[in-house]
Symmetry: C2
Subunit: 352 residues, 2 copies
């Protein structure tokens, strides 16, 4: 029986470097830049394209439409239970590309490093990115590294941009959502946001809350096999499920009605939300997806989600309705219906 | 007679916003985020793909190989004579993609904004990006905006990633450089680096030194018409011409010999370099390219460069030789030959 590689236990020893911390010269394009790239970065990200060290990657792509996405990650703290800024930067962009129905082909990585960042921290992040990219089956093909002076950025920011190819028979578009469609959610809410928040505030729980940071492209591949007529998918990150669904409702001019008793939240996460006075519907997730599917496909998609290791707790969260177009509502356990509004501003800054 | 649009005098009035400065909530994914995107960003960058406000753009591309590049811009100060961080972010990535021979198709933009950044400054940068994108003929198709607290970044960082399509008959590769090839440079050196440096240090000259920030994809299109067998092109940014040529020499295992009396440097730029003790060969350029071409094509490429408004001062800077493989040398006016080494570290931090 073939085994999956054990990504979590990949060896990743820190190479011997001339400096223990990042220096301004590591971003200057000269010898120290070359040293950082060759000793620390390339061993983690090696790909045919990246190894050429040109200013751009050249790729042969299969036919289809191209999906293209970008995201900059500024999460604080940079290490948190269940992940770090590195795997988040890989998973976040893999997910953004894959939600279009695309097979994710390649990522770019752009670092902004603060002078003085411990080399061991940067290396730990690189190792985490390597593992996340291997798990997701994507290559890093081009990159850029800048260094700014102490105090000019907070440790490290990472931009990832991604490209993928969408098979020509797929046409996902959130404007196609129509009454009768079912809203599926692949698992529990608010794990990432509350993990980062409690790590930042140093709140203690019996066990630390864990981020759900994960790449969903494998699950998406299986969903598309059973439901090629899927309307749309999105990962509810910043702003949470409430924001994603409000955008769907506004864009398709339909209403969305959620069943409140089906909103899956882990007990410890719910506890933290209650202590901090935060509604889990508004909290960022980094390993969950919302799918809007025709009613007749809902059960098949739910089953595929639940069979995936990242979707065991998937639910049919609600449905698209003709009433209250542009608005999201939630049926409470008491039988009342309340509006789930668009959030006004920041509940949790620098969550991703 | 048809006229070119007057990009430099495009009207760009600041819309009425609820806040005079960037707030944390502008990056939170809620209503204030939507407000910033709809009122300030989309009017400048509107494209069919971006207006859909999905997490990824979907593009139909013509056939060919795909070029993909990324760059994060952290220049300080963010405004300088001849440009700002906005046009630099557009031109820099357009150039990185175009140097592969690609027609640049689309860009992504990722902002990191510091809480408290004046809205008028951000708007000025957006207007500058709009003009640069229009001049270069590229669309901005997807983006991301993050806000970090005061002191967690220095005003604004911009990542741009770009994609382009390389016609299948082209095969640029710096490893193909061989003895006899000519090294062409499209104009004067060190303009960008010295403009930023003198602006930062508030050095006074009779007239301010101007950055050469410009998109070179138009010139490249014409070069490829007369020289489809061109070996390679690159824009000598960080590390300057010296770094680019050292990388060419190392990658192709050839020597490169420059004619010192042909190195074009504007008199005021040379003056600033002398005051600051900086060799213009090591200073960043943002609107110049180096082309390595077969000897028989050199004159035709030189003529095409000089006919372009961005290449009036183009020169044949030197040639590829079989001697001293991996090494770049410069024949001085005195007839001696000195080594042009790879720079060790940072001469000018945060130049781009």
């Amino acid at each position: 029986m073939s085994q999956k590689p054990d990504f979590d236990n990949m060896a990743c020893p820190l190479p011997l470097m001339d400096h223990d911390t990042i220096q301004l010269a590591h971003g200057a394009g000269g010898r120290l830049s070359a040293d950082l790239i060759e000793k620390l970065i390339l061993p983690r990200f090696s790909s045919e394209e990246l190894d050429r060290l040109e200013d751009q990657a050249v790729l042969d792509l299969p036919p289809g439409k191209l999906a293209f996405s970008t995201d900059t990650f500024v999460v604080s703290p940079i290490f948190f239970p269940g992940g770090d800024i590195g795997d988040l930067a890989i998973n976040g962009t893999v997910n953004d590309v894959a939600m279009s129905g695309a097979e994710v082909v390649a990522l770019s990585v752009g670092f902004v490093l603060e002078e003085g960042l411990p080399m061991a921290d940067f290396h730990r992040i690189l190792c985490s990115m390597e593992k996340a990219a291997a798990k997701a089956g994507v290559r890093i093909v081009t990159g850029d590294t800048k260094v700014v002076g102490h105090g000019a950025c907070d440790k490290i920011f990472i931009n990832t941009s991604g490209i993928g190819v969408i098979p020509s028979h797929l046409n996902l578009d959130s404007r196609l959502i129509s009454p009768g469609d079912k809203i599926l959610l692949s698992g529990s809410l608010a794990d990432h946001g509350m993990a980062v928040m409690t790590a930042r505030e140093e709140l203690s729980f019996q066990a630390p809350l864990m981020s759900d940071s994960a790449a969903l492209n494998g699950m998406i591949r299986k969903i598309l096999e059973v439901c090629p007529n899927i309307k749309t998918m999105r990962d509810p990150t910043r702003g949470g499920v409430a924001t994603t669904l409000n955008e769907f409702a506004a864009g398709s001019n339909t209403g969305i009605r959620l069943e409140g008793d089906r909103v899956p939240v882990l007990p410890d996460v719910m506890g933290a939300c209650e202590i901090l006075g935060i509604d889990p519907l508004y909290v960022a997730n980094e390993g969950k997806l919302i799918a809007v599917v025709p009613e007749q496909d809902a059960d098949a998609v739910l089953q595929v989600m639940r069979e995936d290791e990242l979707g065991n707790d998937a639910v049919i969260l609600g449905e698209v309705v003709a009433e209250h177009p542009g608005m999201v509502t939630l049926l409470t356990a008491l039988g009342t219906e309340r509006i789930v509004d668009m959030p006004i501003g920041e509940q949790l800054p620098r969550i991703c």
